[in-house]
């Protein structure tokens, strides 16, 4: 059992300049939480503060309701997997994994048993006598995870653990980490700059930018209901299209029409009333929601076609001068340099005000139920064995 709470947590490395600008966050037991954001936004700093490797300048960090700001890192009951793995190069794999237990005075036989168990979970049994130098990148990564598992921590912390692996291994390790999360039923906090990792792994995503939380929610909530321009642009690939529009008309129920730069009108459906006609807004449309329609409002000439096999991306310049990316099927015969038109269903539109905040979309529930946490769900018997 481990819950984690951050209350107004702040960090300044130099006086007068805050890296983390006040973060409030609750992490439930056995939750897989991903901190995601662009490089330099303070993800690692936040994780290191939770680990106890950085002092907390202001605010409280609670683990299971206990304030642990001043508790020694090793006493907080957490384990961290570093981006560089930070394996001890002069120790064997077994010694690396058993180091914490050795320091804690655990007997050799018990230590060996725990190391073997972790090695079995991670398929490292045949490498126990090797030095880290004699391992491949993926194996080193598993040793780093094994070192964390052996200590049976309440909370696992990962700082971009996949960023040093090649693409194929990254996908594979992602799946393994999820399996591990099921098997260990532990709380995990995972830092990444890669929104795909965040989307595929998280129960809860925390989007950070410039030391503040932009939005917290389940992957699909962030995808369907981004709270602002930043989250809308950050989550989803290819990136959401943003077009400047002005409100043409709207009723009180959220149905309305906005006008593009070239005057073409787009019907939108929001969960709240649109602002007064004439108000400038930003229209956000995901490339995968656009479809070809000879009467569609988005008219333009393609200048680049990207064929990715499974899907096709057409980069358009609209008649009003805006750029638009349309994602269609991989077999789409579309060619560049011809005028095409596309459309979008009204309830797939996002609108953002001048302050960057999103207008509420239809069907938005404040906190949709997350997927069942491991251990709670009726999992197969082997998972907890």
């Amino acid at each position: 059992m481990a819950t984690l709470s951050l209350r107004g947590v702040r960090k300044s490395y130099q006086a007068g300049f805050e890296t983390i600008k006040g973060i409030d966050l609750d992490i439930a037991d056995r939750e897989f939480v991903v901190f995601v954001g662009p490089s330099g936004c303070g993800k690692s700093t936040l994780l290191r503060m939770i680990a106890g490797l950085e002092d907390i300048t202001a605010g409280d960090l609670l683990i299971d309701g206990q304030r642990v700001n001043d508790v020694d890192p090793s006493k907080r009951g957490l384990a961290m997997v570093f981006q560089t793995y930070a394996l001890y190069p002069h120790m064997t794999v077994a010694d690396n994994m058993g180091f914490a237990l050795k320091l804690a005075g655990v007997s050799k036989t018990e230590r060996d048993a725990k190391v073997r168990e972790a090695a079995r979970i991670l398929q490292l049994e045949s490498y126990l006598d090797r030095r880290p130098k004699a391992l491949s990148g993926g194996q080193r990564q598993r040793v780093a995870i094994g070192r964390a598992i052996v200590r049976q921590p309440k909370v696992f912390l990962f700082d971009e653990p996949l960023s040093n692996l090649d693409a194929a291994l990254r996908g594979q390790t992602r799946v393994e980490l999820l399996r591990l999360h099921e098997e260990l039923a532990a709380t995990m906090i995972y830092v990444t700059h890669d929104q795909i990792e965040a989307m595929t792994m998280a129960d809860k995503i925390v989007v950070l930018q410039g030391g503040i939380v932009e939005q917290v929610g389940s992957p699909m909530e962030l995808y369907n209901h981004p709270a602002n321009l930043f989250v809308a642009g950050f989550i989803g690939s290819p990136r959401m299209n943003f077009l400047p529009v002005t409100v043409a008309s709207g009723d009180g129920a959220g149905n309305g029409v906005v006008a593009l730069a070239d005057g073409n009108q787009v019907a939108v459906q929001m969960g709240e009333a649109l602002p007064a006609p004439g108000t400038p807004l930003t229209l956000g449309i995901r490339p995968e929601r656009l479809y070809w329609d000879p009467n569609g409002p988005f008219a333009g000439e393609g200048h680049l076609v990207e064929r990715l096999g499974g899907l096709t991306l057409l980069h358009l310049t609209l008649t009003g001068g805006e750029e638009l990316v349309v994602q269609t099927d991989g077999n789409d015969p579309v060619q560049p340099h011809v005028l095409v038109r596309s459309a979008v269903s009204p309830d797939e539109c996002h609108l953002f005000g001048a302050d960057g905040q999103a207008l509420r979309r239809p069907g938005h529930i404040a906190q949709p139920p997350a997927r069942p946490l491991p251990g709670e769900a009726p999992v197969v018997a082997t998972a907890t064995a």
Partner: protein, 312 residues
Amino acid sequence: MSAALDVENMPSQPHAVTPPPGSNERRLQRRMLPLVSPSVVLLLIWSIVPLVMTLWFSFQRYNLLDPTVTGFAGIDNYDFLVTDPDFWTSLVNTLVLVGSVLAITVVGGTLLAVLYDQPFLGKGIARVLAISPFFVMPTVSALIWKNLMLHPIYGIAGILWHAAGLQPVDWFANYPMWSVIIIVSWEWLPFALLILLTAVQSLDHSQIEAARLDGANAIQQFFYITLPHLGRAISVVIMIETIFLLSIFAEIFVTTAGGPGNATTNLAFLIYSRALLQFDVGGASAGGVVAIILANIVAFFLVRAIGKRLDI
């Protein structure tokens, strides 16, 4: 996959060092021979000629004071040397001097390196000060220590002893070997510090952080993480220092002149006194040959030990 890894990690194959005849590399080496030969020949002459001359003289009767004593001496010079109690004392003195200075500089250098890796006020200045003794000439530093530091009347040590109400110690008379060890350690500590500091700084800091999370306190971090990381650098320090410390001369010459009696006479000073105080070139050369053999024995063990370390 594991097979591929094994090959990678095997100690270097013999053929990697000397390629089999007829291989491309071997042919390339042969073609390069005329180009490198001038420097090789020069270096050979440079080292072979003195060695052969020393060997030759060590078997000659050759005393500068008495030109009538000439001719082949057989092993008389060596016989004379090993039956001279001074020789054995000088051998012991050499080993004591080298061993003590190594211990002081390696232990002190390691601790200072770890200290200097921490952030503290005035670190830049402290670092320059700590390293500067290395740039002082041995004769000058010996003079500084003899007259400014350890002199019972004018020296700082004397003043301190006085201030504490104690009888000043005549260091060079009462603790001659210790005094020389202190001087030489002072000269070589900066070298050890310099090498070890760069090694400490190359330690991946996240290893220390991982150890902290694993529950290691500062002392355990030092012994389990930092010290193993420094192993290779420490071997390098030991090897280089040993080579230079075996031939310490100026410090002894300036401060104690090998005395009192033969208390600080090491092999280098013994050879000097044979050759240039007693003008016995034959005997001095025999001592020189012994010094060469000693240095080679030490080098053999050191290179083997370090070769093992470098394999990590």
